[in-house]
Amino acid sequence: MSFRVHVRVMPRVGLLDPQGQAVEHALSALGFGEAAGVRVGRAIELNVSAASRSDAEARVRQMCDKLLANPVTEDYLLLVEEA
């Protein structure tokens, strides 16, 4: 089976996120003062062949732990859908 996996990598909560701060300031300057807590991360999508949804998720978790996310500074979320 083929799955489309969406990976969301975000800077760990509590670590300084200067990109998020800069975007928040820019939004505020544009009149969107209600925007708060802005953080900037990275989205990665990939197709994975696997026997099951859980197998696909397990493989992508390994990819995240090894390469796609830095365990020191980032957390990630996965969304798996049938391709």
Partner: protein
């Protein structure tokens, strides 16, 4: 003669300056391509600055899996000296040869300028030529230079004296150039427990000759040229 391997990744751009600094202190320098699998018998390994793999994903994240890095892991595990400069430091962190990580500068801009650092640890393969507490003015040129680590890791680094270089703090009216990136504890460089693996953000190879306006960085290279494998005589094989 001491043999020094300067690694080259696609996107390395301080490799030639680093090799020249190595040769200036009388060591035998050679380039080693990232797809190679052995270090050509080198005693010391230097990972130079640059933008390996375009800094894609994260700085150093892809270079860390280049074939040569397995040889670097074995070299480091055997007590061989490894120096990572700038992107080289980022690669060593991604490769878990040093703890922590280097994140986007707090000010978000790429910073290219001289900064002032204090040499806090001289018992390493790369800083033995300096005096403890010596202040150096070294150039930095990075966008991802903000050192971060867990509180536990920072505590261990401080307790074990593993902060090799520290930026001076911003003080009003001081002519000194302070921390340019917001790093934790003003850290500019760290080492492993043995002091054999060192990572630094500043570029000593750019100030290793009076012709370049300063020789503040030369000590990193005279230190490595004087390095002796523990318990061995002169250039006895370490493997």
């Amino acid at each position: 003669m001491l043999k020094v391997a300067v690694l080259r990744f696609p996107g390395s751009n301080c490799d030639m300056d680093t090799l020249r600094a190595v040769e200036r202190v009388g060591a035998d320098g050679c380039f080693v391509w990232h797809r190679d699998t052995d270090l050509k018998g080198a005693d010391v390994v230097v990972l130079p600055g640059g933008f390996s793999f375009g800094d894609y994903l994260r700085s150093g994240a892809i270079a860390r899996f280049s074939p040569i890095m397995q040889a670097v892991q074995r070299h480091a595990a055997a007590g061989g000296p490894v120096l990572g400069i700038c992107n080289g430091f980022q690669i060593l962190c991604e490769a878990h040869l040093l703890p922590g990580a280097l994140m986007r500068n707090a000010g978000l801009t790429f910073v290219s300028k001289p900064v002032d650092v204090i040499v806090e640890r001289t018992q390493t393969a790369f800083t033995s030529a300096y005096a403890p507490g010596e202040r150096l003015r070294l150039p930095v040129a990075h966008g991802d230079g903000r050192y971060v680590a867990s509180d536990d890791t920072l505590r261990i680094l401080e307790a074990e004296g593993r902060v090799v270089l520290r930026y001076v703090e911003q003080t009003e009216g001081s002519p000194l150039q302070p921390n340019p990136n917001g790093s934790a504890n003003h850290i500019a460089g760290i080492c492993n427990a043995a002091g054999t693996v060192v990572g630094i953000m500043p570029h000593p190879e750019r100030v290793a000759d009076a012709l370049l306006g300063s020789r503040d960085g030369l000590g990193f290279f005279t230190s490595l040229a004087a390095w002796q494998p523990r318990g061995s005589v002169s250039n006895a094989p370490t493997r």
